[in-house]
């Protein structure tokens, strides 16, 4: 699996021709920073980041990887029920999320820990969900970051509807323009909801960016089970632009997202971004990828690590001193320790919390069940007190 090989063709297919491309061959591929940490100039994406910006992105990359590592070990220790690792996808998430304005709305899957970090969600809130203490529980509007969505692709329609709301609020164009970004994976592109979202966004010209992290695997199913053409090329059939970016290149992910969000805000409608990346870990902590993929594939992708290339670039260009890296590592340790401690001491909600927030006001049926169950629980306490 090489990402550089294979020429993309968008020529029309005929019945007699084989499909000319396979989904994992790259075709066009926007890259601004090579795996070796060398900057590549791209005419459409001039560099607009300062050394401080890139150092700050590096910090984000390291911290979210740390949180991810801590979460995996917490799951192994029985402190979390499950965890969906973002290992390998840090650049796609940090790059895209750092391109958003505070007014922009995010609709994540359940793996967008890096995006959540950039939106100011306390990682402990994410871990609540995976510990089984809540189903999320942060205030989506406060962070402009919707709840994690587990049913694959469902959130893309919510994102599109939200973008239609932005249009109705007159918030397209001008200084205070807003847009929406919807995250999803390669597997999700087979879902009806994602295809419906593409259609809705297209015909209503909604201000939305569809950000697909193609991490090559939908649990055990490789990309060729989902598509016969590169995913970004699907956008063409829906009537809006699609492009593929090196998903392990934080600078490129930032640049393409910024441009697509700007286009959405200016009223140019949706864009599909396919961030070509790789799920380095298991689907979740319940999964065993050795059953379905080769270790050699992992080795190839290890050389494309999203963090190492930024470090190499910062070192080579003298934009960061050793003290900077030591400082980030120390901060990572602190953040990891804080998250670990917070999860270990996290209290379970009280049993009667089961009945909260089903409706704006509890219904008569619900009130009766709650009262009955409270009395039942009380009966044990009374027994114990006797």
């Amino acid at each position: 699996m090489t990402v550089e090989s294979g020429a993309a063709t968008t020529a029309a297919l005929t019945l007699n021709q084989p499909v000319p491309d396979t989904p994992d061959q790259a075709g066009e591929f926007i890259q601004l920073l090579t795996p070796e940490g060398e900057r590549i100039d791209h005419p459409d994406y001039p560099m607009n980041l300062s050394a401080a910006d890139i150092r700050s992105m590096y910090r984000d990359l390291v911290l979210v990887r740390t949180i991810d590592t801590v979460a995996i070990s917490l799951q192994r220790q029985g402190e979390l029920g499950i965890w969906a690792s973002l290992l390998g996808q840090e650049a796609a998430q940090i790059g895209s999320a750092r391109a958003l304005g505070p007014q922009d709305m995010v609709f994540p899957t359940y793996r967008e820990h890096g995006v959540a970090w950039c939106r100011g969600i306390d990682p402990v809130k994410l871990l609540e969900l995976y510990r089984g203490v809540s189903h999320g529980g942060w205030a989506p509007e406060e962070h402009k970051f919707h709840l994690y969505t587990i049913v694959i692709g469902s959130q893309t329609l919510h994102a599109t509807g939200y973008a239609m709301g932005i249009q109705r609020d007159g918030a397209v164009g001008g200084e205070s323009a807003e847009a929406v970004i919807a995250y999803f994976g390669d597997g999700a592109t087979s879902q009806g909801d994602v295809n419906e979202a593409f259609i809705w966004a297209s015909v209503f010209n909604a201000p939305i960016v569809f950000f697909c992290q193609n991490n090559q695997w939908a649990i055990s199913e490789p990309l060729e089970k989902q598509s016969r053409i590169p995913l970004y090329q699907r956008a063409r059939g829906f009537g809006f632009p699609g492009l593929r970016v090196d998903g392990n290149d934080v600078l490129a992910c930032h640049a393409v997202t910024q441009k697509a969000m700007q286009a959405a805000k200016e009223g140019q409608g949706p864009t599909l971004i396919e961030a070509f990346t790789y799920r380095m870990g298991a689907h979740t902590t319940t999964d065993d990828p050795t059953r379905y993929r080769l270790a050699s594939e992992l080795e190839v992708w290890k050389h494309k690590d999203p963090i190492e290339r930024v470090r190499a670039y910062l070192v080579r260009t003298g934009q960061a001193e050793p003290e900077f890296f030591a400082g980030v590592d120390a901060e990572a340790k602190q953040v990891g320790a804080r998250v670990r401690e917070a999860v270990r001491t996290m209290a379970d909600p009280p049993p009667l919390a089961i009945f909260d927030h089903v409706y704006a006001e509890p219904t008569s049926i619900l009130r009766a069940e709650r009262e009955q169950y409270a009395a039942y629980l009380d009966s044990f306490e009374q027994e114990a007190a006797r």
Binding site: L147, L157, G161, Y162, R168, H357, T363, S364
Partner: protein
């Protein structure tokens, strides 16, 4: 008071809601220029524009999914699902997304979305156009499920549903769209019966007939016919299917001591089962007979030439009533 068909009463209620709150939107297939296949949204597109009365692409999951997004943005979308049998493509968006968002967010998110569904049979339609899927939604926590049975309720309940901060599945008895009734369109909603309350549509003393939606009229006709036999039937229009108004139901059954539940949906695991169980728990010592159910069979909806045998009619309902006197 104005005389309106049930369809026109819904139309008037939707118009009021659009006038009173700029956040109210109508969306669905053919709801715009055409005014809906049953003309319930007739004239609204012309008067409120395409930004508020939205002709959507033809995909039910998309309708409900984008309505959720609009509600997250502060809008109050009213979705039309063209026919009962077409709601299933939207099942994930309704059951897993819409119904659970408040709970999942621990109260941070409110989704005031109304999903209007013309329901039930009796119009000679092809398959998937005559179903009664209310039990599926009543079984889903987080949804309110209501059914209007007459024009006055149609006018009031659609406005109450739109004002509700909970998602509401709103069933409209399609074969009653053309039934006329007196509607008070001039006064506000303050005097209207709350959305979660049942109403006694006809008082009686011998047996309670519980029903909703399309069978309200059938049950009223049954009660009038039974008077000839000297039998006094109380008809209760449930209106709210989730939550059930057990206070009104219980009061009636305790008074009469007998009860028949009638709905078009299959009896098996239908709403009548839940109602019968609750009545048994709450009115056990006042019951003279078990709660009986009259409804659709445990079959798919039949071809329309057979629907008169499938749908509970006056005779089948009175047969049920007779059987409760056999104990």
């Amino acid at each position: 008071m104005t005389t309106l068909t049930l369809s026109k009463a819904l139309n008037a209620g939707l118009r009021k809601a659009l006038e009173n709150d700029p956040k109210v939107l109508i969306m669905g297939e053919d709801v715009g220029k055409l005014g809906g296949v049953f003309r319930v949204t007739d004239g609204l597109w012309k008067d409120f524009g395409e930004a508020r009365v939205i002709d959507t692409p033809l995909a039910e999951s998309g309708i409900v999914g984008t309505a959720i997004g609009l509600a997250l943005r502060g809008y109050r979308p009213v979705c039309e699902i063209q026919f009962d049998g077409f709601v299933y493509p939207a099942a994930n968006q309704i059951i897993s997304q819409l119904a659970k968002m408040r709970y999942r967010s621990r109260g941070h998110v409110s989704l005031p979305v109304v999903i209007r569904i013309p329901c039930g049979g009796g119009i000679g339609a092809v398959e998937h156009h005559s179903e009664s899927p209310e039990a599926i939604f009543a079984h889903t926590a987080g949804l309110r499920v209501v059914a209007c049975g007459d024009a006055a309720d149609a006018f009031a309940m659609i406005q109450q549903s739109i004002s509700s901060d909970d998602p509401v599945i709103f069933f409209e008895p399609k074969r009653r769209y053309w039934d006329k009734g007196e509607v008070d369109t001039a006064n506000g909603m303050a005097a209207a019966l709350p959305l979660d309350r049942a109403k006694v549509a006809l008082e009686g003393t011998d047996v309670t007939l519980l029903t909703y939606g399309p069978l309200v009229r059938t049950c009223l006709e049954s009660a009038l016919a039974a008077r000839g036999d000297g039998r006094s039937i109380e008809v209760v229009d449930l209106r709210s299917l989730s939550p059930l108004d057990m206070d009104t139901i219980g009061a009636s059954v305790r008074k009469t001591g007998r009860c028949v539940v009638a709905h078009e949906a299959p009896v098996y695991a239908g709403l009548g089962a839940e109602i019968a169980a609750r009545i048994t728990e709450q009115c056990f010592y006042q019951l003279e007979a078990p709660v009986l159910r009259v409804g659709g069979f445990a079959t798919p909806y039949p071809p329309s030439r057979l629907e008169e045998y499938y749908l509970p009619d006056l005779d089948r309902i009175l047969d049920g009533v007779d059987r409760t006197f056999g104990y």
